[in-house]
């Protein structure tokens, strides 16, 4: 059920007896702007750890524990040209507990308290809390580079989007931005966000829909004046392959490749692209998995992934550094093979079954419904489950070969431990 709480503020409720918990998610969504990304990440940390009613983590943790271990968290993410600040809480359904407490109603009231009553004094966020969270975010961002797979992926992302500062920066921000952000600035930015961001609230589980709608109606969100943000960012094809290399102290090298792939969420090529990706590197049956890992024994992981909100395809492989040229060649050969139709019909049927299995399995996760509701609102379209299945099944070999022709290798990042 959908309820428009105000212009640009939407409540979606999904009821089901399948799950023993109820989940409430509030998304604040805005066009991604380079200088707002770190602010939004810091806001997410502040909102997750404090509010006027729960001024420190212990007070907050006690409130959550009293709701039978309610799980509360805040986070940031990117979808195409939009940045999303998300607050989520999940509570057990009291039906399965020895209590009469209305946990879902309490959880909604808790979220409203977090959103509308932040911990402030004198027109700014509480200074001590702000300082602590700013320091912690700085450390967290700096430590991200310890995860070499993630580090390599991030470097590739920066290369792929060299023409857009907002697209280059990770959704969790940049450590060097933090020194210039004050508790006063950030509070002003938050007040602006509360008024202008698109808001999507999703409640999923077994609950009284009218009561939930009434509670959110009473929250008092105002009409948004800003237009609805665009759903897609279009990557620019640079045509030629450019590789950047870096040497660090490490035993396993990482080779990350970025391709221009102008296919977007649920456009005419979308379903063929899904099948193509499974065939190329998206599954254990894929060409990359079979040829780079299994046959040539060259890697522990070698896989591909799609970003259909920005029009790119990525390949990531963990390899022995001295095999760089051979791995690059094998990856190129697999793409050529698919473009030329060098794959069995049986394999296509199998990867389709794999996609269908993933899709149907995802219906067993409460989170799926929240993610889908958000994408549906972002793209202003939705599709019944049956139609999705039919469209995957209908993809032909010719369509896969045609969509593979749209793939152009643009960027590579090679992180190695130096000469072997």
């Amino acid at each position: 059920m959908q309820t428009q709480l105000a212009k640009g503020v939407q409540l979606t409720t999904v009821t089901s007896h399948q799950f023993k918990t109820n989940q409430i998610i509030v998304n604040f969504r805005a066009p991604i702007v380079r200088d707002e990304i770190t602010k939004r990440a810091l806001l997410s940390n502040l909102l997750e750890t404090s509010s006027a009613e729960y001024p420190d983590q212990r007070a907050l943790a006690h409130a959550l524990a009293a709701m039978y271990g309610a799980a509360f968290g805040a986070g940031v993410s990117r979808k195409g040209p939009t940045h999303n600040l998300r607050l989520a809480i999940t509570v057990p359904n009291e039906r399965y507990l020895a209590t009469q407490a209305p946990l879902t109603a309490q959880a909604i009231d808790f979220l409203k308290s977090i959103i509308f009553k932040p911990l402030t004094a004198n027109g700014q966020f509480d200074q001590a809390t702000f300082d602590r969270q700013s320091t912690n975010l700085k450390s967290a961002i700096e430590s991200v580079s310890d995860d070499k797979q993630y580090y390599a992926a991030q470097k590739l992302n920066a290369q792929l989007f060299a023409d857009s500062a907002a697209q280059q920066v990770p959704s969790f921000g940049v450590a060097s931005d933090l020194a210039a952000i004050t508790a006063t600035d950030l509070y002003a930015y938050y007040q602006q966000l509360i008024q202008n961001d698109q808001v999507d609230i999703i409640v999923m589980g077994d609950f009284d829909e009218a009561d939930v709608a009434a509670r959110w109606q009473a929250a008092g969100f105002s009409d948004r004046q800003a237009p609805r943000p665009a759903a897609f960012y279009h990557h620019q094809n640079t045509g030629d392959y450019v590789e950047q290399q870096e040497v660090q102290t490490l035993s396993q090298a990482k080779l990350n490749l970025g391709y221009d792939f102008p296919v977007f969420y649920r456009d005419e090529h979308y379903f063929a692209a899904l099948v193509f990706n499974e065939l190329f590197g998206g599954s254990p049956l894929s060409k990359l998995f079979m040829n780079v890992r299994e046959k040539a024994s060259l890697a522990y992981y070698a896989s591909s992934s799609l970003d259909t909100f920005r029009g790119v395809l990525k390949v990531q492989a963990g390899i022995d550094g001295q095999n760089h040229d051979q791995v690059l060649q094998i990856i190129a050969d697999q793409l050529t093979a698919i473009q030329q139709g060098d794959f069995e019909d049986d394999l296509v049927e199998q990867v389709k079954l794999g996609l269908i299995n993933d899709f149907e399995s995802s219906l067993d996760s409460q989170r799926t419904f929240a993610v889908q509701a958000l994408i549906d609102d972002l793209t202003q379209q939705s599709m019944p489950d049956d139609e999705w299945l039919t469209k995957v099944q209908a993809v032909t070999k010719d369509e896969i070969m045609a969509v593979a022709q749209l793939v152009t290798l643009n960027q590579g990042f090679f992180l190695s431990g130096g000469a072997a």
Binding site: S16, H17, Q18, K20, T21, Q57, R58, A61, H62, A65, A66, M67, Y68, G69, A70, A71, V91, P92, N93, Y96, L97, A98, A128, R132, T135, N136, S139, A140, E142, S143, S145, D146, K148, T249, L250, S251, Q252, S283, P284, L285, R293, E294, S297, L298, A299, Y300, Y301, I319, D320, Q350, L353, G354, I356, N357, D358, E360, S361, L363, D364, Q366
Partner: protein, 433 residues
């Protein structure tokens, strides 16, 4: 079939032992699209010294053999089990822990075909010199990848401190040198010893009809011949009950942005199996929450002092034959981090004694979290451990948590948190040169 009803959760489990010794547990979940099945042998990375089936002599096998065997089970003379699962639309995987090896799939369709594939591929070993040699490259890459992971190094560094004379200290995958020695004959010897149905369990949860599924499994198993089961003799070295073999402190340098530290506590006393083990685990988890959870005094104090931050976490590992605690986090000052944790552990009394309200809050939280896990087929199946907890499932846990008293928690704390059981391990940022 033994039927267990969990009225509070509106769930029912069915359990039986087949004539060949295999223990089967089935748990239907209404409304789910997917079925998740895990086929587990009680054989893990620490079982590197045992009497091979058909022999009477103890033999030391290369480290990493259980994990190597797990990888090789998928490959057959003319096909790969992954492909068979692929043909039926299932997603398959396997993992090896210290004490177990599990093979699993999840599927929304073709349950019968997938279940038969799981049983058949695990019960049909095929190893040749050629295929064994080829796997060494793949697993070598896996080992290298973990070598670069500071969190993994931190965890195994601590285990090395707590268990310096025990196979726990070895990486589950072994080392490049140890796996180089593995032969097809070794794999067959391990297989024949540990993959007897008597040493295995099958847990199936999700969309299923218990009578139908049990019928499929029973029919499949009846067609296969197994030797008479011989009780398995494994040699796991005893560890000192006074903790004198624990290495109190080590540090290494790695290219990390910020130092990481872990404080470990080795459980010195043996733990009983069955419901007692489940109760012990619940009790320790309550104790940890009271001592260092986000509802505790310690947590807020250390957080506000900047000694811990959001990277702080703790874990209790309880398995057959060993148990230990770890408290880890990133820190600018590892010595200060360790000192603060150790102080909290050695002076646990104020956080526990007379804290009736805190105990009640923590119990609510933990019982609620069991309800969360009831949504997850994977959590339900993977929390089950027949060798350690007997027939108990996730749904037995709320009553156990509810029954815990402050005296229970204090008894556990007094016995577990002793100075001689504590150790420190640190990763310091290498100077870039």
């Amino acid at each position: 079939m033994q039927v267990n009803k969990y009225d509070q959760f509106n769930e029912v489990s069915y359990q039986t032992k087949l004539p060949n010794g295999l223990t089967v547990t089935l748990l239907p979940k209404a409304g789910f699209h997917k079925t998740y099945a895990v086929f587990t042998t009680n054989y893990g990375s620490i079982d590197n010294t045992f009497v091979p089936a058909g022999s009477d002599e103890l033999k030391r096998f290369p480290d990493g053999i259980a994990h190597f065997l797990e990888h090789k089970m998928f490959e057959k003379a003319d096909h790969d089990a992954f492909q068979t699962f692929g043909k039926y639309g299932a997603s398959a995987n396997a993992f090896t822990s210290f004490t177990r090896t599990s093979y699993l799939f999840s599927a929304t369709r073709n349950l019968r075909e997938n279940l038969m594939t799981l049983l058949d591929f695990v019960q049909d070993p095929y190893f040749t010199t050629k295929t064994v040699e080829k796997e060494k490259g793949i697993i070598g890459q896996e080992i290298e990848m973990y070598n670069d992971d500071p969190s993994w190094r931190l965890y195994f560094g601590m285990i090395g401190n707590l268990y310096p004379n025990h196979p726990l200290q070895y990486d589950i995958a072994g080392t490049t040198e140890s796996i180089a020695k593995i032969t097809a004959d070794d794999l067959y010897a391990a297989y024949r010893t540990f993959y007897h149905p008597e040493n295995m369990t099958l847990f199936v949860v999700g969309k299923l009809d218990p009578d139908e599924v049990l019928d499929w499994i029973t029919t499949n198993q009846a067609t296969k011949q197994f030797d008479t089961f011989q009780p398995i003799e494994r040699r796991i070295p005893a560890t000192a009950t006074d903790g004198h073999d624990i290495i109190p402190y080590r540090t290494i340098d790695m290219p990390v942005a910020r130092a990481k530290s872990v404080v470990g506590v080795k459980g010195l006393a043996p733990i009983e199996d069955g419901l007692a083990a489940l109760k012990y685990r619940a009790g320790v988890n309550v104790l940890l929450e009271m001592l260092f959870g986000d509802t505790s005094q310690n947590y807020l104090k250390l957080y506000d002092q900047g000694i811990i931050d959001d990277t702080f976490g703790y874990d209790f590992e309880l398995q057959n034959g060993f148990n230990f605690l770890t408290f880890s986090g990133e820190t600018n000052d590892p010595a200060q981090f360790d000192a603060a944790i150790i102080d909290g552990l050695e002076n646990w009394q104020p956080a526990v004694l007379d804290q009736d309200d805190l105990l009640a809050t923590v119990k609510k939280e933990m019982i609620g979290r069991i309800v969360f896990m009831a949504n997850s087929l994977e959590a339900i199946a993977n929390r089950y451990d027949q060798r350690l907890f007997g027939a108990a499932t996730l749904f037995d846990e709320p009553a156990i948590i509810d029954g815990l008293t402050l005296e229970d928690i204090a008894t556990i704390a007094a016995q577990l948190l002793t100075s001689q059981a504590i150790s420190e391990y640190q990763i310091r940022p290498a100077t870039k040169g």
